[in-house]
Amino acid sequence: MSQNHQLSATDVKLGYGERTIVEKLSITLPPDKFTVIVGANACGKSTLLRGLARLLAPASGSVYLDGRAIHQMSTREVATVLGVLPQTPVAPDGITVADLVGRGRYPHQGWFRQWTATDDAAVASALQSTDTLDLAQRAVDELSGGQRQRVWIAMALAQRTDILLLDEPTTFLDINHQVEVLDLLTDLVRTQGRTVVAVLHDLNLACRYADHIVAMQGGRIVAEGAPAAVMTSAVVKTVFGIDSEVVIDPVSQSPMIVPIGRHHRLKQAVPAE
């Protein structure tokens, strides 16, 4: 995991059938950084993530992994470098947690290679870091939404890839587990030098955790860069169409977006630094 893999997209056009959602978009994901994609519903952020993860082939343009067109690479080879947690994976009826997370080891196994202690260890550490080890023998469909979400994250972690793409990994999670998951993803970046890309809903958590933030609107990137540089109330207005005030998060010193809404007019414009 020490080697730095690089993921980028050039002029990609992404969509479903006739409907184009992302047009002529280029992006380079900074390696060894935590990148967060934010935007309103239906702005194309999940579509972009699916495109980057080679789950969706671009109509034109290309996604490059280490300079090679990702759709021309063997999907197995990609899977050893790049892991994805899609938005709506399906848990087969009755499957246990350990079994499901174990399926994340798929790309590391050959046709005839048996399950080894390395696989057990990878599954165990994935379960441990998502706080689901004690669920190992439980059936996935008996878990709560939050537990299930953490199990899916564990499956993506068990894949042990340098690049990890996650589509809304904190949905269904309590605030404590949201923070835990984001802490965990940050650990992966800081201590193991992995590249993590996540689509997040919570703007303030996004600003707090992201090294690099990408704000999207209408299938285009409106702004990208360090959260402190990018997240201004003007950008928030463009992306979410809402008035807000940007203050400093007292805990992390990152920008904190305070939405205003109709019932709370700004009484006194407090100058933000």
Partner: protein, 353 residues
């Protein structure tokens, strides 16, 4: 962090996996025993009473050289081929069914429902009623019919890829056409031809012999291991197309490969014994319920299929006194009753599927 702490989680995971593996082995072993017991019963029970000792002597006669023409004919010439045919056909149907249900993510989507068996049936009925064919020709056209309709279904579902949902719907459409052909011929043919066709459509082990078993045996021998190899990508396909792709599974290749295996197995089995009802449908759900969360259902499903087929044939031959019925009449009843029992009683978690 000391070594112990680091080590414990992996042990927990290994323990979880071991537990499932143990259950899988237990279920597989129990099913194997049941199948063996049924084969033994099929070799000893019959109109011509033979003590167990003589059955064993006959079975061993090719090795020992101790022969007895009468009992050798009964055991080696009649009962053994019949039991082996039941074993192989049942296993092939069970395996085929569970593969279809897994790939298409629908417990109803067995080859009998999505058109494969229907295609084989109408091809065979055409051969019987229009061309007055018998034996090998009927078997050949059944195989051809199954493969042809499967190819058509896949081709017609293809639009830059295949989705399970579209495959199922196109399968229903093709099945309807095939069934209409059968119905049409049934209303136009003379009644004795209809009777002959119906006998084939019911499916039976009558007339089983080692001579006609070659393709089915070879098919299982080759495709069984192929299915086992394909199970791992199939297991990631169960997580949904996106998750499977993310794990590096070649989704279309896996889908096509596994379906091909399932189609050929169903085709050979149907050609050999006719479209025996419900084995392909019931084997998967029954095996999955016995396994619980314990993973790979392929071998257990094949064993369930074999057990149901041999057991049904035993009942069909002997339960109703002189009235011998084809096995296909009984498989539906047995498979259904067993599935109903599992649905009602052994349904610990109350879930379906």
């Amino acid at each position: 962090m000391n070594v112990n702490v680091q080590f414990a989680p992996a042990a927990t995971v290994a323990a979880a996996r071991r537990k499932l593996r143990t259950r899988h082995r237990l279920v597989t072993a129990a099913l194997t025993l049941i199948v063996l017991a049924l084969v033994a019963a099929a070799l000893t029970i019959g109109d011509y009473p033979l003590p167990v000792a003589e059955v064993v002597t006959s079975l061993l006669s090719p090795f020992t050289g101790v022969t007895d023409p009468a009992s050798d004919f009964i055991v080696l010439g009649v009962r053994l081929p019949r039991a082996i045919t039941g074993l192989l056909a049942g296993a092939a149907l069970g395996l085929s069914g569970v593969i279809f249900q897994t790939v298409l993510r629908n417990p109803l989507a067995s080859p009998d429902i999505v058109g494969i068996t229907t295609g084989a049936s109408s091809a065979a009925v055409i051969a019987i009623i229009v061309f007055h064919a018998t034996g090998l020709m009927v078997a050949l056209s059944a195989t051809g019919g199954a493969v042809l309709i499967a190819a058509l279904i896949y081709a017609l579902s293809w639009r830059g890829g295949v989705t399970p949902y579209r495959l199922v719907l196109v399968g229903i459409g093709m099945a309807a056409i095939a069934a209409a052909i059968t119905s049409y011929l049934f209303t136009r043919a003379r009644i004795f031809e209809v009777q002959q066709a119906l006998a084939w459509l019911t499916g039976s082990l009558n007339g089983a012999s080692f001579d006609t078993l070659g393709p089915l045996a070879l098919g299982l021998l080759v495709l069984g291991p192929v299915a086992t190899i394909l199970y791992r990508p199939l297991a990631s396909l169960e997580l949904g197309d996106d998750a499977a792709k993310a794990l590096g599974t070649r989704v279309e290749v896996t889908r096509l490969g596994t379906l091909l295996v399932a189609v050929v197995l169903a085709a050979f089995a149907t050609a050999t014994v006719g479209p025996i009802a419900f084995v392909a449908f019931a084997a998967g759900p029954v095996a999955r319920r016995l396994l619980g969360p314990a993973g790979n259902p392929l071998l257990p499903s094949a064993l369930v299929g074999a057990a149901v087929t041999i057991g049904a044939d035993l009942i069909a031959q002997h339960a109703l006194g002189r009235n011998q019925l084809p096995a296909g009449v009984v498989t539906g009843a047995i498979g259904a009753l067993f599935l109903i029992y599992l649905l009602a009683a052994a349904n610990r978690s109350g879930r379906g599927g």
